[in-house]
């Protein structure tokens, strides 16, 4: 068989191919069974052999004429070269593929058939491609190795058995050669070199026709191709470019370490900044720049860049400071920016207030009636410790405190009630001005409005209205300068931010104290019905329109020296209605009024200048008006022609009328005739008169705590009267410094303090100390107690 095999190899070219292939296949089939007793080839033991170590079997090709046309091999592997292992492997693989080429080179007819034989075992190498000529790139370099089909056999086997271990070949005995060798073949992993999956088209599809046409064309092509002169086989070799080493060095990468402590607020800030950024980007891009500019004040356009940069980074101060530290020139601008910004102003405001608090702390504490410990500096520490201990309330300290209190009390008893000066509201602006009126804010008990203006005609000069806060006694919160002296101020109840100011020239103005704008919100200068003379009193009054069913409405009531009491309504400006025209009344003694008028003094005007008014605390329809004549008229809002009653008791202009806050029957009046009168509503003669001085009494006020206590300010002193104590003498007399006149007096609402304004522009806060305490201070029937049962009798 082997001989026949050999012989078959030496057959002619034309036939040898098929035979070779067959034999090859046969040999490949027989590999598993028989011993390959080829002498020329080394025995295959089922293991990979070095084909190089075996003597090669020479294939001899003879043509029809018997000429030896054996092609000479192009490649001679060096058996001694150890590294030729690899090329052998290459050879192996190549040869395997060569196999098909080999067959193909001989004949083109069997092209498709032959590889199939070979392909049984070389399928893995060939894959599914039928034409592998292109894949055999190195076939030319390999040359046409025809010498050893057995070589190929071995190569095939060796290729197949690649995964098996190599063994060193040793000399084989004949027995071994004759022995049956079991060769196991197994399929290796499929290496996919090319996979073109079939694309199927439905017959009904649009492209079906084209596809079938193309298929038909292709079939034709295949058929025609074999043996067609148009098609020539060519093999190509790609050139591998010569590799070249190239070195590149990059610049040094600068690294910087940055550490940030991620705190809760940093996260919060960055989230908020992101949200703000996203909400901003939602707006049109054209607007973002304007928004940036609008949200900042007094900034140049170059800050836009910094804003854009910084608004998107996480807001950590380190990052910002790093960026900003680099831009040195902007620093100066930033400092200006800081100084101009509103927040800075606010901070300064706080700072000032805190300072004031520090400095005035004991005074303010006294005002607010917080316990303060007085003591010298030596005792300070003791007191300090005591204060601390008091908080802890240990027994020892209670005792010490008790003893201290006792000692204080013991020393207190002989001390009469007095005024203790706490502080004064004054500043440079107000120096030299006469305090004409004061009013507390209805909503904020710490806010005080003070009007500065001269009383006399000759002394007129510029005036101002200030709003002072308890928290800052050194500088007013608001300053409203004006050309004319301010004669009266009052805060509104319904809108506590409105301050009504009456001026010496008869105009009134309403300011909004919420902003620092010194321009009044409303002004009556253009009103036709404005007062012609000084507005001596201005007051906000709540009037309920019970009958009409409307809610309480607040109106502004003023009384002027032109003899008119007007009410102003804020309705598109100030609208004025006259409540009353104060007509001059003649003396009681003169019975024939008309005749007397002619004979009497030539009246300049029919109207008596009004100096003050006071609305009844309960019934706001009734009010009392005091005139320059000295008469007090009881009037009603319903009647604007007639008085209800007249109280005659004063001989000079009545400067102030005040209803008792507890007892609604009694009211006080003070006038320039040096006296204060206490009246009872139904009596037209004063019940009590207090003529203690020889000076004009400018102001009186009832104490909000007791129905018996009132204060009166005359030029030289302020007197505090307690009617329960004595109706002849005041309990406290505070004498003014010479040259200073006390002009106004005002009680503080929640505390035992009294404010006294003087002609030098100071508003001094005094604390009423050691006032006699009564259990029933707020009695409504105080007047009865005071005056006895005759109170109600009408004289």
């Amino acid at each position: 068989m082997s001989q026949s095999r050999r012989m078959s190899t030496t057959r002619r070219v034309s036939l040898s191919v098929s035979k070779v292939s067959i034999t090859r296949s046969k040999t490949s089939l027989n590999l598993s069974k028989t011993l390959l007793s080829r002498t020329t080839s080394g025995p295959t033991e089922g293991k990979e052999k070095m084909p190089l170590h075996r003597p090669k079997q020479q294939i001899q090709v003879f043509d029809a004429l018997g000429n030896d046309v054996t092609p000479r091999p192009l490649f001679h592997p060096d058996p001694h070269f150890p590294g030729s292992k690899k090329p052998s492997k290459l050879l192996v693989s190549q040869d395997v593929s060569l196999g098909s080429d080999f067959t193909g080179s001989y004949t083109m007819f069997q092209n498709t058939v032959n590889p199939s034989f070979v392909g049984q075992f070389t399928r893995s190498a060939l894959g599914s491609s039928t034409v592998s000529k292109s894949s055999a790139s190195t076939s030319e370099s390999m040359g046409e190795d025809l010498e050893e089909p057995s070589y190929r056999r071995e190569t095939i086997s060796s290729y197949i058995d690649l995964h098996l271990k190599k063994e060193v070949p040793k000399a084989l005995t004949k027995e071994e050669l004759d022995a049956k060798v079991d060769i196991y073949l197994s399929e290796t992993e499929t290496l996919w070199l090319f996979n073109l999956p079939t694309i199927m088209h439905s017959i009904e599809s649009e492209e079906a026709e084209k596809v079938t046409k193309r298929n038909a064309l292709y079939e034709n092509l295949c058929r025609n191709r074999a043996g067609n002169d148009l098609y020539v086989e060519r093999v190509m070799q790609t050139f591998n470019g010569a590799p070249k080493h190239k070195e590149v060095q990059c610049d040094k990468i600068l690294t910087e370490e940055k550490g940030i402590m991620s705190t809760t607020w940093a996260l919060y800030d960055s989230y908020n900044a992101l949200e703000a950024a996203t909400s901003e980007t939602k707006l049109s891009t054209g607007k973002t720049s304007s928004i940036h500019e609008g949200s900042r004040k007094d900034q140049g356009s170059r800050y836009l860049n910094t804003t854009d940069r910084t608004s998107e980074t996480s807001s950590t101060i380190d990052v910002e400071s790093v960026i900003l530290a680099k831009i040195h020139e902007e620093e100066e601008d930033h400092s200006e920016l800081i100084l101009k910004s509103e927040k800075f102003q606010q901070d300064l405001f706080f700072m000032e207030r805190v300072l004031m608090e520090n400095i005035f702390q004991p005074k303010l504490a006294a005002y607010r009636q917080l316990p303060i410990l007085e003591g010298k500096e030596e005792e300070e520490e003791e007191n300090y410790h005591q204060v601390k201990k008091v908080k802890k309330q240990t027994e020892d300290d209670e005792d010490t405190e008790a003893t201290e209190e006792e000692s204080m009390e013991a020393s207190e008893e002989p001390i009469p009630p007095n005024l203790e000066r706490l502080w004064s509201f004054s500043c440079d602006l107000t120096k030299g001005h006469n305090v004409s009126s004061m009013a507390w804010n209805k909503a904020n008990p710490d806010l005080l409005a003070v009007g500065y203006g001269q009383f006399g005609f000759r002394e007129q000069k510029r005036g101002l209205a200030c709003c002072w806060s308890l928290k800052n006694p050194v500088w007013p919160e608001r300053v409203y300068p004006s050309l004319y002296g301010v004669t009266s101020v009052d805060f509104s109840m319904a809108s506590p931010n409105l301050l009504a100011v009456g001026f010496y020239n008869g105009t009134i103005a309403i300011y909004n104290v919420q902003n620092n704008n010194s321009v009044p919100v409303l002004d009556s200068s253009e009103s036709i019905h404005k007062h012609i003379g000084p507005v001596w009193q201005i007051q906000w009054v709540e009037q309920d329109k019970g009958a009409a069913g409307e809610e309480k409405r607040e109106i502004l009531v003023t009384v002027g020296a032109d003899g008119r009491i007007s009410k102003w309504i804020i309705q598109k400006g100030l609208i004025c209605h006259d409540l009353m025209k104060l007509k001059r009344t003649t003396n009681e003694k003169q019975k024939k009024q008309n005749e007397r008028e002619k004979k009497g003094e030539a009246l300049i005007s029919r109207q008596a200048p009004g100096m003050c008014f006071a609305f009844h605390p309960r019934d706001t329809n009734i009010y009392l008006a005091g005139t320059e004549e000295g008469h007090i008229h009881k009037c009603s809002c319903s009647y604007n022609e007639q008085y209800l009653d007249t109280y005659k008791g004063h001989k000079g202009p009545v400067y102030r009328i005040a209803w008792n806050p507890f007892c609604y029957e009694a009211f006080l009046s003070c006038s320039a005739d040096w006296g204060v009168n206490l009246w009872q509503q139904d009596n037209f003669k004063p019940y009590l008169s207090f003529y203690t001085t020889t000076h004009v009494i400018y102001d009186i006020a009832w104490s909000p705590k007791s129905s018996y206590i009132f204060a009166a300010a005359n030029e030289h002193r302020v007197e505090i009267w307690d009617l329960q104590c004595s109706i002849l003498d005041p309990i406290i007399v505070n004498v003014a410094n010479p040259g200073v006149k006390f002009t106004t007096v005002l009680f503080a609402k929640n505390t035992d303090c009294i404010l006294i304004g003087d002609s030098e522009g100071q508003v001094i806060v005094y604390e009423l100390k050691n006032m006699p305490i009564y259990i029933d201070s707020g009695r409504e029937d105080a007047i009865d107690i005071l005056l006895g049962p005759e109170a109600h009798s009408v004289l």
């Binding site: 607020w265 930033h334 800081i338 702390q361 007191n383």
Partner: protein, 110 residues
């Protein structure tokens, strides 16, 4: 602007106030009435303390913020008003500090 200057001046001239200074976020004083070394020292130290206090307040509640810081010692009291111009998109801080001598206050109430 004038009002700011006025207020600053009033604070500076107040009885008991030793000095005031306005510092920006990096600790560089913009305005000061104290001498240079004291200013620099105070600025540096107070800056750190203020940042720490601010961080503390905000850590507890991020929506909260530090408005005022007062440090009372035996000899002086230092008041710091820190702030940031967050509304302007710049993250700035400055300090306005004044030191008063508490002996001038008649009582020492805590």
């Amino acid at each position: 602007m004038a009002e700011v200057e006025e207020t600053l001046k009033r604070i500076q001239n107040h009885k008991g106030v030793i000095g005031t200074m306005v510092v920006n976020a990096e600790g560089i004083p913009i305005r000061t009435t104290l001498d240079n070394s004291t200013t620099v020292q105070y600025a540096g130290l107070l800056h750190q303390l203020t940042m720490k206090a601010k961080s503390t307040v905000r850590d507890i509640d991020p929506q909260n913020d530090l408005t005022f810081l007062r440090i009372r010692s035996k000899k002086h009291e230092v008041m710091v008003a820190p702030d940031t111009l967050l509304g302007l998109g710049l993250d700035y801080g400055w300090i306005c500090a004044g030191a008063t001598c508490p002996e001038l206050c008649s009582t020492l109430n805590m």
